[in-house]
């Protein structure tokens, strides 16, 4: 199996970026962003977390350097998660009776 060898320098760089993002997400939690837009705090938190996850998947897990077949499997897994989340949350969001 041909493999692209990722350099330790890149790994270190990704790690530093991940640390910066971690600090950012902690800082963002200390700021009241909900005054600007309802739920902005959790949106920001999820966006930052997704960026971190992307960096880990693409570079630590070599997805960036993997075959299209592998990338398809990765996408499929996330897609199935998206189905579960969207359909279930859609159900909850469209109920007219009390969700308690």
């Amino acid at each position: 199996m041909s493999e692209h060898i990722v350099s330790p320098k890149l790994y270190l760089l990704i790690f530093v970026v991940l640390m910066v993002l971690t600090g950012t997400t902690v800082y963002a939690a200390t700021v009241d962003l909900n005054q600007y837009y309802r739920g902005l705090n959790v949106i920001v938190a999820l966006v930052i977390a997704t960026c971190k996850a992307l960096l880990v998947v693409l570079f630590f897990m070599h997805a960036y350097y993997s075959s299209k077949r592998t990338q398809l499997i990765i996408f499929a897994g996330v897609f199935w998660l998206a189905i579960m989340l969207s359909l279930t949350l859609g159900d909850y969001a469209s109920r007219s009776w009390d969700v308690r």
Binding site: L12, M19, T30, A49, V56
Partner: protein, 193 residues
């Protein structure tokens, strides 16, 4: 391994879904309960776990370039960082136990007796223990896999031509890291202002 990880995505995904619905329904108490979690320990653990992903990636690299001693070194470092993570988790759990925040074990949130408040806070902590507990279980399994790899790497098993087990355990380990990357903000950083 990726196909197995797809099943894991759905496994944890179900818990995240439960968390989403409950946090939306009981937002104020979730924020309150989240504030009782130790942010310093949680943040420290995040750094430790991402660091362990770095050492794991370095272990794979070492195998790819044929530096056998480094493979063992980085695998041991990964295992050590993983154990640090679990140790901190144990400390956190003990704290929660002492504060009566463990559902089912004399649960009482912050010395108040209001039933609704206790119930909603208990929901948060049920999810907290359920999700971090499942995550910790995965870490323990990962630690076992690392021990298995370390034994083989000491015997010089991993070469540029054959390092698939290292790569695959790496994939598993990085996945567990990703789960924590989502767990940390959702559990610890709901509302810190």
């Amino acid at each position: 391994m990726w196909i197995f990880l797809a099943t894991e995505i759905l496994f944890f995904g179900g818990l995240f879904l439960t968390y989403t619905i409950n946090r939306h329904t009981y937002a104020p108490m979730f924020a309150e309960a989240s504030r009782t979690l130790d942010l310093k320990l949680g943040g420290f653990n995040t750094v430790v776990l991402i660091g362990s992903s770095l050492t794991m990636a370095m272990a794979v690299w070492s195998a790819q370039v044929g530096k056998k001693k480094l493979v063992t070194l980085f695998l041991i470092l990964t295992l050590l960082l993983g154990c640090v993570f679990l140790g901190v988790k144990a400390i956190e759990y003990k704290q929660k136990f002492d504060e009566n925040h463990v559902p089912g074990l004399n649960f009482q949130f912050e010395k108040n007796s209001d039933q609704a408040i206790n119930a909603h806070a208990q929901l948060f902590f049920s999810l907290y223990f359920g999700m971090t507990g499942l995550h910790a279980l995965h870490m323990v399994i990962g630690a076992g896999l690392l021990v298995w790899l370390i034994k083989q790497s000491i015997a010089g098993r991993f070469t540029p031509q054959y390092n698939t087990p290292v790569e695959n355990v790496g994939l598993y380990w990085h996945f567990v890291d990703i789960v924590w990357i989502y767990l940390f903000p959702l559990l610890y950083l709901i509302d810190r202002h």
